[in-house]
């Protein structure tokens, strides 16, 4: 990797205010994304995993600038876009596309699929003739495994996975350089999922597409990612090349995640040691002091409750935020 990274996220922060309490108007702040930094090189796929509610979608929405970060810096292709005003975001939409986590909520129910994809094509190039446009829409549908007949349908007439594929086609239609994909394949059966993952690989090879891929499916993440980032309660706690990550995670939370992967084998539980996390999931309204994972970490020591570990470089260039990273010995569970 050389030159400027396509995406640079530096100490990014996004908090949400929530009205708390039943009796009073006590307010709290959800620490959705807290001081997160990383780079993504052009053509790379970065996989992002983490507990539900840890801030992955919020981070995604910041990067595509659907929301404005509170603090920190966000660069795309060397340009600072952190606080770019909404009205001048349109050129950015042509380069960065988000595939939404919820395909039900992100497609306009009143529009036909052809209109939805047509609008996305216009964003790329509004001068295309009508005939060419129809052909291009059919081609896009085909790429995501949908027959051209779907053009005339409305989202309500599609199944969950069919809608998700329309969402993917819409992002591809724009011809972006960066796709931020938020759980793009979770509603798809494994065979269609394999087709979509293969398609993303092809596009990367053809067009040098850069992808930030969010998924809770660690099998999928392993398959697509060059590097894997792990988030916990708003923080990035580990960042590593995929192969190294799966061979030997350094953060105790990563280890617990990998040990909990459901295996497609009814007898897997007989041979596998699983790490069950004790303790309640802490609230993002008031993250624990010290290491945010210390309330549930099986390796926690006195130091962990008092001081928060910074994301720092380990041997081999891997990044981890832990006072006592797991040694590169064989870890349990797999």
């Amino acid at each position: 990797m050389s030159g400027t990274p396509l995406v640079r996220v530096a100490a990014l922060r996004k908090y949400f205010a929530v009205k708390g309490g039943w009796l009073g108007g006590r307010r709290g702040q959800v620490h959705a994304v807290d001081d997160v930094s990383f780079d993504v090189a052009s053509g790379e796929t970065l996989g992002l995993v983490g507990e539900s509610g840890c801030g992955k979608s919020t981070l995604a929405r910041c990067i595509v600038r659907l929301v404005e970060p509170d603090q920190g810096k966000l660069e795309f292709d060397g340009e600072d876009i952190t606080h770019r005003p909404t009205r001048s975001l349109r050129p950015l939409r042509r380069q960065i596309q988000l595939i939404f986590q919820d395909p039900f909520a992100s497609l306009n129910p009143r529009k036909r699929i052809s209109q939805i994809l047509g609008a996305a094509l216009d964003l790329r190039d509004a001068s295309v003739s009508r005939g060419d446009r129809q052909a291009e829409i059919a081609r896009l549908l085909e790429r995501v495994g949908l027959a051209p007949q779907f053009m005339d349908r409305r989202p309500r007439e599609l199944s969950g996975g069919q809608r998700q594929r329309v969402g993917i086609a819409r992002a591809l239609a724009v011809g972006p350089r960066l796709i931020v994909a938020d759980e793009p394949v979770s509603a798809l059966d494994v065979s269609v999922q394999a087709d979509i993952l293969n398609l993303l690989k092809d596009l990367q090879a053809e067009l040098g597409l850069t992808v930030i891929f969010i998924s809770h499916d660690l099998g999928v993440i392993r398959h697509v990612s060059d590097r894997v980032g792990v988030m916990y309660l708003g923080r990035l706690v580990e960042l590593a090349p995929a192969d190294q990550f799966y061979a030997a995670p350094l953060h105790p939370y990563s280890e617990a995640l990998l040990s909990a992967i459901p295996m497609p084998d009814p007898d897997a539980h007989l041979t596998r040691k699983e790490i069950v996390l004790e303790g309640d999931i802490p609230s993002p309204l008031a993250p624990p002091k010290g290491c945010r994972f210390h309330t549930r970490c099986p390796y926690a020591q006195a130091l962990c409750a008092g001081s928060e570990p910074k994301l720092s470089t380990q041997a081999g260039g891997r990044l981890v935020a832990c006072h006592f990273p797991l040694a590169k010995q064989e870890s349990t569970g797999r």
Binding site: G53, Q149, A187, V190, D217, R222, Y246, L257, M263, V276
Partner: protein, 340 residues
Amino acid sequence: MSGALIDIRNLTVRLSGGRDAVLVDDVSFAVGKGEVLCIVGESGCGKTVTARSIIGLTRHDPRFSLSGEIHFDGRDLMRLGADELRQVQGAGIAMIFQDPMTSLNPLHRIGRQIGEVLTLHGKHSSAEIRRRTIELLRQVGIPNPETRIDDYPHQFSGGMRQRAMIAMALACSPSLLIADEPTTALDVTTQKQILTLIKKLKVDYGMGLILITHDLGIVAEIADRVMVMYAGRCVEIGAVRALFRTPQHPYTAGLLASIPAANRVRGERLPSIRGVPPILSEGRPQGCAFLPRCDFALGQCRNLPPLRASGTDTDHLDRCWLSPEVKNQTLRRLQEGAEA
């Protein structure tokens, strides 16, 4: 099956009005007390339509017409009027929908929506309802339920919304839970927590579960039996071990081979099943619907194969013309080849 909690016979769902199609074709299955049946199958094969039909939701849409029988609690739900149906459901069946955002009301606080379900199922004081709601939210792993109970759906993350839906479904202590992709947006540790909760309800109260999911890892972990659907039909059904160890239908074998397992060597391309599934509204191919994509097809396949047992296991049924030898050897090898 006698003593089944729910027994569905020959369920058929037709769509009329411009796009005539049979979305669900002659599907029969039963779920016993404390049993988990998982439904898997390609996107668009009719899983959601099947589930919604069981609880009578497709009845409101004049474009759908249903036939068959659904025996639950000593009655045939298909023959009940709307009011009676609602009563029976209230007393026993809950459903978790695939799309949390469209089934949660965006204008109402999460706590109020769960509270409404509790109110419907018994008279409680408002303090009692609030206490119970908080407890339910905690059970499904929402941190700080005391505060988050007053949030609106958009303030919840994708996975938190899914968990709110689960809490709402469990609020009425159903004897049968139908869950359509309930854990797709959940990380593996939260997923585990929900599955553990469901297992507990199944053991403690004998709750039956129909679980629709694409995640074959979850199926392996929680299912007692599995039904595989293709193009609106049941193509294979059997005990979970039998189905994973000796898949009898080429589609099932193909699915098992496509899993991007975290323990598999990171390959360049994932194996997938060539071709695309038929669009049901454009009419189904004659005979076996999997024919255009099947590597094993025979002349016979232009006739619809019956759903029957291929081997000695009379609970393991499939809809494929291949000989038992081919099924047991070739299909098994296909799956092992992908694992290697």
